[in-house]
Symmetry: C2
Subunit: 219 residues, 2 copies
């Protein structure tokens, strides 16, 4: 089992995972990361779209963005991705929790300057939002590529943390007349809304997304 | 309109908001924050449960947690909360986006030591996960309070950023035979699962949650 270099989890160690498969699966299940970096000793955490590329993470933004320019200078970054899977309702306040899958990564960002690599990355961001969508829409042209900064974050170490299952109540609390259990949560997709001046049915990428979602529910 | 001291948004300024009502509403709609801080020049971003208290944000963790102890020393933190509202599918890769509501805050954390204030805070975390749940479950006892560190982050400045609506395609792309629009997304709650050794129906807090959710859907 291949592992990332460890960023050791110290609290709730039983929830920690370092294998590449687990870390990749959590990263691949999302498209919004929270990216942290330091400017003059001050921490910043900014939500950004991302896509995984091998063991690395790609970010993008406007070429005119101060943030992109700062990050592209090779500063250390921390990237966190979290999915909420349920509300964990215990008999006591103390044991309330949430079920989640999260990854915390550490690495260094570098700008990608090669045009072809940038175009591939930008298609990757589109497919991270919705698999199959890049092939359905117009790729970036030369001007759009020039206007976009793409960063490759080489992930130097990473850890995943997963909580699942029901509440862990104190034995002494089991007699309390309090309901305990889990309310599962999930990011759900609703009916597609056509854009202005757009006619016709949603494309295969959207139909597959909704179909997969319904299969999960009826399974 | 009361505003937070501005952490000025530089990119996509038209999406920025600084009024307290907007910032509070985004914070109140969630319970998971990404908290950033600096240790020896290295940024860390960690997912944590939170609850808003007035203009401040409360965090908690184990008294034995290195993280809690570091944060409690009054170091600067950045806290980001994001909600994803939809996939924005444009005719071009370039204009793909997501609809979201996010807040980025900056402040300083201080430990709360008063037992009563800690108990109130811990009830607040429970109600942040599920409104009304604190009153249904056992409050923290003296040992649990002693085992829990609670931090108050005094928010010194904050900004909200909101994107909503459809894709903003280039006029030249309107003729392309590409569907464009929005797939709305929402964190949805599923059927409650009883904990081990738990009999009976889910409590009013859970039933209200599911009822509110269904009202929104049929509205």
């Amino acid at each position: 089992m291949r592992e990332y270099a460890r960023h050791e989890v110290r609290r709730s160690r039983e929830r920690a995972r370092y294998d590449v498969e687990t870390v990749h699966a959590i990263l691949d299940a999302g498209f919004l990361a929270h990216v942290g970096f330091v400017v003059d000793g001050q921490p910043f955490v900014i939500p950004m779209l991302y896509v995984r590329d091998g063991d690395d993470i790609l970010l993008h933004g406007s070429i005119a963005s101060r943030l992109m320019n700062q990050l592209g200078e090779g500063v250390p970054v921390s990237i966190s991705v979290s999915h909420i899977d349920g509300l964990v309702l215990a008999r006591s306040h103390f044991h309330h929790s949430v079920n989640y899958r999260s990854v915390v990564c550490f690495g260094t960002a570098r700008r990608i300057d090669d045009g072809e690599a940038k175009a591939t990355a930008l298609a990757g961001f589109v497919d991270a939002i919705l698999p199959g969508r890049a092939a359905e829409s117009r790729p970036s042209d030369r001007n759009e590529l020039a206007a976009t900064a793409v960063l490759r974050v080489v992930v130097e170490n990473a850890s995943a943390k997963i909580r699942s299952g029901g509440p862990k109540d104190d034995p002494a609390d089991r007699a309390l007349p309090v309901w305990a259990g889990v309310v599962p949560t999930q990011l759900r997709y609703g009916e597609p809304e056509n854009g202005e001046d757009v006619a016709g049915q949603a494309p295969p990428s959207v139909r597959r997304l909704l179909q997969r979602q319904n299969e999960v529910i009826t399974a």
